[in-house]
């Protein structure tokens, strides 16, 4: 078991585990510290400076997301430290001078939310003139899913670090320097012309909605109800949240990292391929192709009986080896088990395969 010790945050005694950061301890204790660049799946970058706290004995404010808790440490957050609060007030003001604002003067919110907006509401901000930083997007990027708006980007580098550290795809990068820094690709090409796998994890980790799903730009996070389900595109069993508005799935998001097997990740299919749900061509009931060559609605009993009849006929006429079974990668383990049981027990054939097996 790892060593535990006590640290003090805003006067409160908190238990910390060896190796934990101050932010981790604070979160467990319900002490809120704002963050932008922190994603628990990634190595701390300490770049957004939102989470700075006062640490006894340190001359400078330190990023709680990266600072290791140590026995007896005395930490002060913005709740008790005027210095930290002033730091947050001016920092948020600077972010806002470099950000798209709405008519109330607050950071605008897109379909992907904006953590800066909530934080700005908690601070007494200065009205700083916009800095008009010369940051560029990739206007020619025709990929179907991912849009980048540099005017909402806080350069937390979560997207690029995610693409590197989690996906190991390295399709996107910080590019340029200073106030020109932006998110780019090699040659500023569209994502389809890079190593990008369109997993959409960069959208998911983006804290300010600078990365958004093209299909779901408009619907704001508070307008949807999230329905937890299991992705049925493959057998991994990723958990996902269907974002439902007016009885329609308008987006799919991944649950909080650390809470489900997929740790906040999804692949292109799970995250983006939800259009079939409300597609007009989707089969919604069993059908049998009649003598006329057309499909006709029927009941499950009739459809299954019809299929069984047809397969039995083949077996009778040509022998069991004439039949093969291939199950879909979308099937669960239980379904695959049943599939091989039909093959082996009912039809007495070893011709059974699963499309995800090689």
């Amino acid at each position: 078991m790892s060593k535990t010790f006590n640290i003090k945050i805003d006067g409160k005694e908190c238990v910390a585990l060896q190796g934990e950061t101050v932010l981790q301890v604070a979160r467990r204790e319900g002490i809120e510290i704002p963050t932008l660049c922190d994603d628990k799946r990634l190595d701390p970058a300490g770049a957004c400076r939102a989470c700075l706290v006062e640490i006894d004995g340190q001359r400078r404010l330190q990023p709680s997301c990266a600072w290791k808790a140590a026995d007896g440490q005395d930490v002060k957050t913005h709740k008790v430290s005027e210095r930290v609060q002033r730091h947050q007030d001016v920092l948020v003001s600077l972010y806002m001078a470099d950000h798209k604002l709405d008519c109330e003067g607050l950071p605008i919110e897109t379909g992907n939310g904006n953590d800066l907006r909530a934080w700005a509401k908690d601070c007494s901000t200065l009205q700083l003139e916009p800095v008009n930083a010369p940051r560029v997007a990739r206007p020619g990027d025709v990929n179907p899913y991912i849009e980048f708006d540099p005017e909402l980007c806080v350069l937390c580098a979560r997207c690029t670090r995610y693409c590197d550290e989690i996906e190991a795809v390295n399709a996107i990068t910080l590019t340029g320097r200073g106030s020109e820094t932006t998110i780019g690709t090699a040659g500023m090409r569209g994502l389809l012309d890079t190593s990008c796998e369109l997993c959409g994890g960069c959208i998911d980790t983006c804290p300010t909605g600078a990365l958004i799903e093209k299909k779901a730009e408009k619907t704001l996070p508070h307008e949807v109800e999230k329905v937890r389900t299991t992705c049925n595109y493959c057998g991994v069993g990723c958990q996902m949240d269907l974002n439902v508005k007016d009885n329609e799935v308008v987006r799919v998001t991944s649950p909080e990292p650390g809470t489900t097997v997929n740790d906040g990740n999804l692949c292109i299919k799970g995250r983006f391929a939800y259009d079939f749900i409300h597609h007009k061509d989707r089969f919604t009931e069993p059908m049998i192709r009649g003598e006329d060559g057309e499909l006709h609605p029927t009941t499950w009993e009739k459809a299954i009986a019809f299929a069984a009849e047809g397969m039995k006929k083949v077996a009778q006429r040509h022998g069991p080896e004439a039949i093969g079974f291939v199950s879909s990668s979308r099937c669960t383990g239980e379904e695959n088990y049943l599939m091989q049981k039909i093959a082996r027990a009912a039809f007495k054939t070893g011709n059974v395969h699963q499309c995800a097996a090689t």
């Binding site: 957004c48 730091h87 550290e165 200073g178 090699a186």
Partner: protein, 503 residues
């Protein structure tokens, strides 16, 4: 995340060899190294010198501006030349300075530059002949690790790169790490505006610097020694290489490696420098961990300045106490660079703690009526001339809210508009910010915009929030660049309020 870095380290040299960042070159480097294309693109676009060859580079540093670099640029353009304005070239004693297409200094100097004349008693003695007997190295081998450290400690040597950190603590720190692989890195990226002492040291006394590095490598137990030399310093890199050849067998115990800068001031910051050596964007790392525990390739690394290393042979030969005795308010002699409104800009070796007045005396006196000065490069902001009798040292200047830094002193006379001077310095910081953290990235652009607006409109309202923003840059930035970038403006507003009134 610590990655396999071996191939990444080739990325920047290869891009340079191929002629800069283009889509084809990035593809080629990807094929040669296996590093993902996006990472190569991201690294390459960080560096000014990898943007592909411009024409003549005209310096827009403060010392060059007050000596008419704008006019020089305009004249060159009128002659049909392609001109690019660039951050301080480290040639402030040749103001207004420019580099031609092959990076040679283009002589348009308006002042007569000078240097402390040969005096063999001086610890560094830039005016003297090089000497490759390497008596100090021999003696150091006899003294051993602890004996050397004792002398370094007794000498009171503080790092000359800017922070003035005690050298013996850093050396001890590296040598006592559990990891047996350690590195020594010489920071020769000298790019702090108004600073050119490392340039002169490399050109004139590489013998001392190399000997000092070898002694440091003995102490910390390094086999591999690296130079990181500013990209524009071609003659200097050649001088170092020539000296290394002359040092010959004395230094054959070590592998000597050369890295070149690629046009980014921030890479003088030690952790940005290490990132750059590893082929990445020159963005400073969070500290801790410091390079002495987690440095180049994650190994314990001693990063030190050219001048710091060059002080070491004297300390070993003559004893730490004798070096220390050279100082006035702090230990040792110090190379001061001076430029701006004085007669003989150059590098002068004076006791550490000399005053501006003494330095200007060595440099041929003031031009015109002095009004303000920068004690240590753009990073030190400005002080009013009535501080001319304060010692120029690390601790005293820090107490006064500024710093000695790289000892790049610039004198401004009363023909200079302080608001304009502040704007020039902020342009530098905006251009050179790595962009990693918001206080610096947004703050330096904000202040630059606002002082420009003030100069255009004459309305002080533009500067209403300058103090708050400056305060936050100092409190919230990751590294030393952002922490001081507000100073030229905020300090000028404090010391020269009349320059910021309604006009």
């Amino acid at each position: 995340m610590l990655k396999k870095t071996a191939d990444r380290e080739r990325v920047l040299p290869l891009l340079e060899e191929l002629g800069g960042v283009t889509e084809e070159n990035v593809k080629r480097v990807h094929e040669l190294t296996g590093v993902p294309e996006a990472d190569i693109w991201g690294s390459g676009t960080f560096y000014h010198l990898l943007k592909g060859g411009p024409g003549i580079r005209v310096c827009n540093g403060l010392s060059c501006r007050i000596m008419g670099s704008d006019q020089l640029a305009a004249d060159l353009k009128a002659k049909g030349k392609e001109v690019e304005e660039v951050s301080c070239l480290g040639q402030c004693d040749r103001a207004p300075a420019a580099l031609d297409e092959s990076m040679k200094v283009f002589d348009a100097a308006k002042q007569k530059r000078s240097i402390t004349p040969d005096d063999p008693r001086l610890p560094l003695n830039l005016g003297g002949e090089q000497n490759f007997e390497y008596a100090a190295l021999k003696k150091a081998r006899e003294l051993g690790r602890d004996g050397i450290l004792k002398q370094i400690e007794a000498s009171g040597l503080q790092g000359r790169g800017g922070a003035g950190f005690p050298a013996h603590i850093k050396w001890k720190g590296v040598s006592s790490q559990p990891d047996p692989v350690r590195y020594v890195v010489c920071n020769a990226d000298e790019a702090e505006p108004a600073t050119f002492k490392d340039r002169e040291t490399m050109l004139r006394r590489s013998d001392k610097m190399i000997e000092g590095m070898a002694i440091a490598a003995l102490v910390v137990g390094a086999k591999d020694i690296y130079f990181y030399i500013r990209g524009e310093f071609n003659a200097e890199a050649e001088a170092v290489q020539a000296a290394l050849k002359r040092a010959g067998d004395h230094v054959k115990d070590w592998n000597w490696h050369f890295h070149r800068g690629h046009g980014a001031y921030i890479c003088g910051e030690e952790t940005a420098l290490l990132e750059s050596m590893e082929g990445k964007r020159g963005m400073p790392r969070l500290k801790p961990p410091f390079p002495h525990e987690f440095g180049f390739r994650g190994k314990p690394t001693l990063v030190s300045n050219v001048e710091t290393f060059a002080c070491v042979p004297y300390i070993i030969n003559e004893g730490g106490e004798k070096f220390k005795a050279w100082g006035k308010t702090e230990a040792g002699s110090k190379l001061y660079c001076i430029s701006g409104h004085i007669h003989n800009p150059g590098v002068y070796e004076l006791p550490l703690g000399a005053t501006l007045e003494e330095l200007v005396q060595a440099a041929g006196g003031y031009m015109g009526n002095p009004m303000a000065f920068s004690p240590g490069g753009a990073s030190s902001g400005f002080l009013p001339i009535d501080k001319r009798n304060e010692p120029l040292d690390f601790k005293g200047l820090q107490k006064a809210g500024t710093m000695l830094g790289s000892a790049g002193v610039v004198v401004l006379n009363d023909t200079v508009d302080m608001a304009r001077a502040a704007q020039w310095q902020l342009e530098f910081f905006e251009d050179e910010s790595c962009g990693q953290c918001a206080p610096c990235r947004i703050g330096s652009r904000y202040l630059h915009n606002q002082v420009t607006k003030y100069l255009e409109t004459g309305d002080p309202a533009a500067l209403k929030h300058a103090n708050d923003v400056g305060w936050e840059m100092e409190e919230g930035s990751i590294c030393g660049l952002g922490m001081v970038a507000h100073k030229p403006l905020v300090d000028s507003m404090k010391y020269f309020p009349q320059a910021f009134e309604k006009r």
